[in-house]
């Protein structure tokens, strides 16, 4: 069993798995159950000023399903906590007292003025919480009132509010970012300039999950109408991974610590976020789908992985893949691969053929007896056949050895690395000569 102890910006927890600020962390009852199940920490559901907000009394969630109703994406229109501020503060205090080894972060969202922040921060400090997370991310409801993503979409506001918060508390400050922007590095930079100790991302993505084709109304539907919600769950993971990597590999961002969020469902997802620079991870939808017990799989899985790699600290994973994230222009154009179909594994479904023949490069041949083979003369190694093949490892991409000739281009595979920046077809490269 590997040591999973986590130290994220000075906040210690027995493992790097926190529950994100969301419905699962709304109340003492839930959070106690989470800690009993083994979660390393929680970010308490966002507190606001009294009078507390209210929620709709109809559906709050909408879903996108895969096979067998497997939940792939969830959309929610729930607002921040709809309970009085003092109730939450009292509960936070007793839970933190009873679970001193767990991380207790409190998410906050108050109007974009300094006074409310000055008011609420001491109240949070008094609970004994380990830190605060500024909710600049929620894209629904609160944003209409000038909070949440309405702040997160304006870097100047992020910097300003972060600075107020840092000036008014001793607690570490995490700034939670919205993905509903064009360049995630800008709000991250603003948070850094404002003095944030870390950023967490991503919050949910503006979304309509589906449309009721009888009512002609978006889902979830409240009395015949629907409003966009925030999308989360496994479906958003690729978007979140990219945004985490964008921040992690930007030298201008000074390696600001990142708490990774976005569709993390298994230990593997968590390890991937960490490899791309997340110091720890936050989970919500997976817990909402399967319950708090899933953390046991995350703990055992990450531990087994670390043992198999000989890693003794979770920090050894963090950022390990970042150097391998690059720009397209730096990819090696002398790397040549060809698809290869393992005939022993092939079940002759022909999906590779249909995909390649109809939508790609006509590089797969089909025989009378349904044997499918790659035509190296045509294969550009696009990988589509691999992606559509239902059998794992049946089709693989095999690199061509330097010195061999690519039958498609008739050119010898060069051993040296060469990218677009120096390619003769690149007008910019020519201009530089």
């Amino acid at each position: 069993m590997a040591d999973l102890t986590s130290d994220f910006i000075g906040i210690k927890s027995p493992n790097p798995f926190w529950l994100a600020s969301a419905p699962p962390t709304d109340k003492e009852y839930n959070v106690r159950r989470a800690f009993e199940a083994g979660w390393g920490g929680v970010v308490w559901k966002t507190l606001g000023l009294d009078p507390h907000v209210v929620n709709v009394n109809g559906p709050r969630y909408g879903a996108v399903y895969g096979a067998d109703r497997r939940l792939l994406g969830l959309n929610n229109i729930e607002l921040i906590t709809d309970r009085p501020l003092q109730t939450n503060l009292d509960e936070i205090k007793v839970v933190k007292r009873d679970y001193p080894d767990r991380a207790m972060i409190v998410s906050l969202m108050v109007p974009c003025e300094e006074e409310p922040w000055k008011f609420i921060l001491p109240l949070v400090e008094e609970t004994g919480a380990d830190g605060v997370e500024l909710n600049f991310g929620c894209p629904h409801g609160m944003s209409e009132r000038g909070m949440g993503s309405a702040v997160g979409q304006v870097p100047e506001y992020i910097e300003m509010v972060t600075r107020w918060v840092k000036a008014n508390t001793r607690m570490p400050v995490i700034v939670k970012l919205t993905p509903n922007i064009t360049d995630i590095r800008k709000p991250a930079e603003a948070a850094m300039k404002g003095g944030a100790d870390a950023v967490s991302l991503i919050n949910t993505i503006n979304s309509i999950t589906s449309v009721d084709l009888d009512l002609f109304a978006p889902e979830p539907t409240i009395d015949g109408k629907g409003a966009h919600g925030g999308y989360c769950g496994p479906a958003v993971k690729p978007i979140a991974l990219n945004m985490v990597a964008e921040i992690a590999r930007d030298p201008a961002l000074g390696q600001i610590p990142i708490s990774g969020i976005g569709g993390i469902t298994t230990w593997r997802d968590a390890a991937e976020f960490m490899a791309l620079g997340a110091g720890n991870v936050q989970v919500c939808t997976a817990a909402m789908t399967y319950g708090f017990k899933i953390v046991q799989e995350m703990i055992s899985g990450l531990s087994d992985y670390m043992d198999s790699k000989g890693l003794t600290s979770v920090d050894e994973i963090v950022g390990r893949a970042v150097p391998n994230v690059t720009d397209w222009q730096y990819l090696n154009l002398n790397y040549v691969a060809k698809a290869k179909i393992n005939q022993d594994l092939c079940i002759s479904c022909g999906r590779c053929f249909a995909a390649c023949e109809d939508t790609s490069h006509q590089a797969i041949a089909m025989s009378e007896d349904r044997t499918f083979t790659v035509i190296d003369d045509e294969c550009v190694a696009c990988n589509l056949c691999v992606n559509v093949c239902p059998v794992e490892d049946c089709i693989t991409m095999e690199a061509m050895a330097p010195g061999t000739t690519d039958p498609r281009t008739g050119k010898v595979v060069e051993p040296d690395y060469a990218n677009w920046t120096t390619h003769p077809n690149n007008p910019a490269a020519n201009a530089a000569e």
Binding site: A67, D68, R69, I347, S348, G350, P390
Partner: protein, 440 residues
């Protein structure tokens, strides 16, 4: 009823009255909506899918499964029925494990094919239970076609012809339409009177008149039909049963399996159908299995299915063999009937064990038997038929016989397996050729 499993002889009511409905319940109950979605999702939507090739009626299986998966089962049903108007019955009785599901790539990959047959039933039931008939007739052509036999081949042919605008008269010797669907298939494969519901649904196309109680060679003649109609389609099936070549084969209690199956299908109550205590079924096809399983379901104490070759040569699929075994039917192979023993009624039956060349090995087997069912094949019966090819009517690929204006299909025609689905395909294809001929 005071009979039970141990009562000697051929008697009804071996079980408690309430046990029968459970015994004869649906072999594969219809998938519910969620089960259908899960099953449909397993389809890979193969390119030029092997399951289509394996289907005698060439149903576009990946398309109809995708239509189920996207919540449009009625569209799926239309995809099925446009190729196979008896897709509902075929979904119940097709040996899918030897056809589409055997060809399914997931059968190759995991030994677990997509449940094509059950998905097909889900779709066709969904449409038919709403009473929707999705096809309509073309403008009436004024041509008249006689179809002899209201079985799968005949009705398939009749429907397609009616759809194309021709007027069709179907002649059948029985009081009900459906042919083997109505009289020759195990009860648990088509419960709740499905065969008749399907016929009623099929006839909604219009333009088809059924003339019951008309036997070819009796009330009607081929010559008469040829002169009264513009074309004739023969879908008369195989009316005779092969005799048992064994000493004493004429003793009481030696019966035809097809009659037993028909009696069960037509029975008001299963409890009224008599069955032996010790039942022996001779044969290795679907009829043999249907009879043996149903004898067991009726409460027979011992049911033995005896086949002269090895299991691998049985016409009944492995699935059918396993079904029989699971119901308690004992399967004996490499044994040929030698003598039926008994004083008036059968008491025992003796078999020679034979080798692969069908030569007696010198060893014998005696089985107690108060009821013996012959299920060793059916034969074509009729006079003045078109030219034969072996023991069946010689036909071209589109069902043309040696007589001008006469087509044939289904079990009575040479070539193709004796399956419902094959009969439907042959009837359909003959109809297309008749149409082409009549409108040329």
């Amino acid at each position: 009823m005071s009979s039970n499993a141990f009562t000697p002889g051929i008697v009804p009511g071996r079980m408690a009255a309430e046990a029968y409905s459970e015994q004869f319940s649906d072999l594969h109950p219809r998938l519910d909506d969620h089960e259908a979605l899960v099953a449909a999702d397993r389809c890979y939507f193969c390119h030029d899918a092997p399951c289509i090739t394996a289907c005698p009626t060439d149903i576009d299986i990946p398309l109809f499964i995708r239509q189920i998966a996207t919540g449009t089962p009625d569209a799926a049903a239309k995809t099925i029925l446009s190729q196979n108007i008896m897709g509902g019955m075929c979904a119940r009785v097709c040996p899918t494990e030897q056809l589409c599901e055997e060809a399914c790539v997931r059968e190759m990959a995991e030994g677990k094919p997509v449940l094509i047959g059950q998905l097909q039933r889900y779709a066709t039931d969904h449409l038919q239970e709403q009473g929707i008939h999705p096809f309509s007739r073309a403008a009436v052509t004024g041509k008249s076609v006689a179809v002899v036999g209201a079985g799968p081949a005949g009705l398939s042919c009749a429907h397609r012809l009616a759809m194309l605008g021709h007027d069709v008269v179907v002649y059948d010797a029985q009081p009900k339409a459906g042919g083997l669907n109505e009289y020759g298939i195990a009860t648990y494969k088509t419960v709740d009177g499905y065969a008749q519901s399907e016929v009623d649904w099929l006839l909604k196309i219009g333009g088809i008149q059924i003339d019951y109680g008309k036997r070819l060679g009796g009330d009607i003649t081929l010559a008469g039909l040829r002169s009264a109609h513009d074309a004739v389609f023969l879908g008369i099936g195989l009316g005779g049963v092969n005799a048992l070549d064994a000493e004493g084969a004429d003793k009481d209690g030696v019966l035809d399996a097809v009659d037993f199956i028909a009696d069960l299908r037509q029975a008001e109550s299963f409890a009224d159908v008599p069955v032996g205590r010790d039942v022996v079924v001779i044969g290795g096809g679907m009829t043999a299995v249907d009879a043996a399983v149903q004898a067991k379901l009726l409460g027979a104490l011992n049911v033995t299915l005896v086949y002269r070759r090895g299991r691998d040569r049985m016409n009944a699929s492995v699935f059918e063999q396993d079904l029989a075994a699971s119901k308690g039917v004992r399967i004996v192979t490499h044994a040929m009937p030698k003598a039926v023993i008994g004083n008036g009624a059968v008491r025992e039956i003796e078999f020679d064990y034979v080798d692969d060349a069908m030569q007696p090995t010198g060893q014998t087997l005696r089985l107690a038997a108060d009821q013996v069912f012959r299920a060793i094949g059916q034969t074509l019966v009729g006079e003045d038929l078109p030219e034969l090819d072996g023991r069946k009517i010689k036909v071209t690929e589109t069902g043309r016989t040696s007589l001008a204006g006469v087509w044939a299909g289904g079990d009575c025609a040479a070539g193709g397996d004796d399956l419902t689905v094959t009969a439907v395909a042959e009837g359909r294809d003959a109809a297309m050729d008749i149409h082409a001929t009549l409108t040329a």
